[in-house]
């Protein structure tokens, strides 16, 4: 296997983060962990954006991943973080395979609204589920990497998340250049042409939907392990809205973008809450508008501007 520049950079950033994990204060490590985990969920949103589909319901898979982790510990007594994550990913894959059959028939606003509706239905089910604590949710049982409990959960989950993020980023970087990845973009550009090349746009979108669901569920599972708590809010539409927000913030230009955007989002929000506890939503809104107006391709265009210029 040969590695390109992005892949080498990926390794570099991963190592840098791993080292800074030894130096950084606890709050920053936690913030990084959650940002990376949420970045994974956002990767799922971005994958679909590349195919021209904007999901306002990616919280569905975020929530499924999280609840699988919570329920696996609660009801099945699983204490291995890895196994719990696998559980979440499998559950999301099965759900996406079913929902994808219907959802891939829709485009644009209709896809957005219908994905939102499904997420809200899960929210409703969980709110009804008193055995699962309804809106209060429940705490994730103590866990360890392969068996619990971990001696230092904060650091364990940080390195686990970092590893997952790096592996997924590597895969996604390849994926965007693979047959399915490029045809996704082609489908966004011109579905009729894809059909007349003898390919099925629906199959492509379906495959992409399922992969995106899996990636997002992994992010949800990692968030649940890190925060130690799951609740139905994970499936609420505003949570999905936040993921779309971060996706737009980063742009679709690189596998780094969603992670970077998730980190910037978390930092902006936490400092906004601290400095302007009554106006942090406004600060987020203005940030988003500024990005859309001045960096329509997201934060990532700050890094790739030179290359863009050379192209055109």
């Amino acid at each position: 296997m040969r590695f390109d520049k992005t892949e080498i950079a990926l390794l570099g950033v991963g190592v840098a983060l791993a080292i800074s994990g030894l130096l950084a204060p606890g709050w920053l490590i936690f913030l990084l962990t959650v940002a990376l985990a949420k970045g994974l969920v956002v990767q799922g949103v971005v994958m679909q954006m590349r195919a021209g589909m904007v999901s306002f319901g990616q919280g569905l898979f975020y929530c499924v991943g999280g609840y699988a982790v919570g329920m696996g510990g609660q009801f099945l007594g699983v204490s291995s973080a890895v196994l719990l994550l696998v559980l979440g990913v499998a559950a999301a894959a099965v759900l996406a395979m079913v929902l994808g059959l219907l959802l891939t028939r829709y485009r644009e606003i209709f896809f957005a609204m219908l994905s939102l509706a499904f997420s809200m239905i899960l929210y409703g089910v969980l709110v009804k589920g008193q055995a699962l604590g309804s809106t209060d949710g429940f705490n994730v049982h103590s866990w360890g990497l392969f068996s619990g409990p971990a001696s230092n959960p904060t650091m364990t989950i940080f390195y686990l998340t970092l590893a997952c993020a790096a592996v997924v980023a590597f895969f996604l970087h390849r994926y965007t250049r693979s047959g399915v990845g490029v045809v996704c973009e082609a489908t966004r550009e011109n579905e009729v042409r894809v059909e007349y090349l003898g390919l099925s746009p629906r199959w492509i979108l379906y495959a992409n939907y399922v992969v995106a669901a899996v990636v997002s569920a992994l992010g949800g599972g990692l968030t649940a392990l890190a925060a130690g708590h799951v609740d139905p809010e994970m499936a609420y539409w505003t949570t999905s809205g936040e993921f779309v927000f971060i996706a737009i913030l980063g742009g679709t230009g690189s596998v780094f973008a969603p992670f970077l955007a998730a980190l910037v989002f978390a930092l902006v929000r936490t400092y906004a809450i601290e400095l302007v506890p009554n106006g942090w939503q406004m600060i987020l809104g203005i940030t988003l508008l500024v990005i859309i107006v001045f960096l329509p391709k997201g934060l990532w265009s700050l890094f790739s501007r030179k290359k863009e210029g050379a192209h055109s």
Binding site: R174, V183, V192, V194, E195, Y196, L197, G198
Partner: protein, 262 residues
């Protein structure tokens, strides 16, 4: 079924509400033929192509390709059976480069299920794409985004993508529309050279009678959803009805319109 028919339509009809776009069309085309389709705007030419390639379902009638009925078959399956088409307005991937457009077509021709991991752009595909670019004299636009490429080149890319799957039959929908007068022949020469190279059966819709006369062995004249003449170019173009309804007014009106837009 005789082996000397590649495409046959029987009693093909299509109505859109009160409008009849195709009325009882009977067409048979033999392998290797180059057929021109003429007719004024709204005569039903594109509707005919759309039905044959599965984009529109006929209201009634039968379509046979290589003796097999293809009514109700989706476009991608028809493409895979070896019946490809180009479009009046080039259907490309505008934000991607010309090279990527071709590479996607090359990969699609290889397999209907692309890979999740292996890169789409391989050395082999790049080399083949470069050969195609050369064949169609598009090398200058290799890395340009489609949106930055002139109309004529876009039409060529569109046709090249249709040809990449090595179809048995190719339907060209106004290959020279939107192309300036002096480029038309060059474009058609390039296309026809490529087609002859593969021995492909061709049916093309064209407004310019000079272009039609130059390449085809047979003409179908459409008027108001019906075929009013079918035969050799000399025969059809001399037909009184065709002169009155198709070539007379339409040709004048058409060239006037082209002039304005060019």
């Amino acid at each position: 079924m005789s082996a000397s028919i590649i495409l046959e339509t029987r009693g093909l009809c299509k109505t859109f509400g009160a409008v009849t776009a195709a009325k009882d069309l009977h067409v048979t085309i033999a392998p290797g033929e180059v057929v021109g389709v003429i007719g004024s705007n709204g005569a039903g030419k594109t509707t005919f192509i759309n039905m044959v390639t599965g984009y529109l379902e006929p209201s009634s009638g039968e379509i046979l390709f290589n003796g097999k009925s293809i009514v109700g078959t989706v476009p991608r399956a028809i493409t895979r059976m070896g019946l490809a088409r180009s479009f009046q307005v080039a259907q490309l991937f505008p934000e991607l480069s010309v090279l990527d457009n071709l590479i996607i077509a090359l990969a699609a021709a290889e397999s209907p299920r692309p890979s999740f991991f292996r890169p789409l752009r391989t050395r082999a595909r790049e080399a083949r794409a470069d050969a195609i670019l050369e064949e169609f004299r598009l090398t200058a636009f290799r890395d340009a985004r489609v949106t930055a490429v002139p109309q004529g080149a876009r039409k060529l890319v569109d046709i090249a993508m249709a040809l990449i799957g090595e179809p048995k039959m190719l339907l060209l929908d106004e290959p020279t529309s939107g192309v300036s007068v002096d480029e038309k022949n060059a474009l058609m020469d390039t296309v026809m050279a490529a087609v002859r190279h593969h021995g492909t059966t061709v049916l093309f819709v064209e407004h310019d009678m000079d272009v039609v006369r130059r390449y085809v062995s047979r003409i179908l004249a459409f008027y108001s959803g019906e075929i009013i003449a079918d035969g050799t170019p000399d025969h059809v173009l001399a037909d009184a009805k065709v002169r009155e309804l198709v070539t007379g007014h339409a040709a004048d009106g058409h060239s006037a319109r082209k002039g304005a837009s060019a």
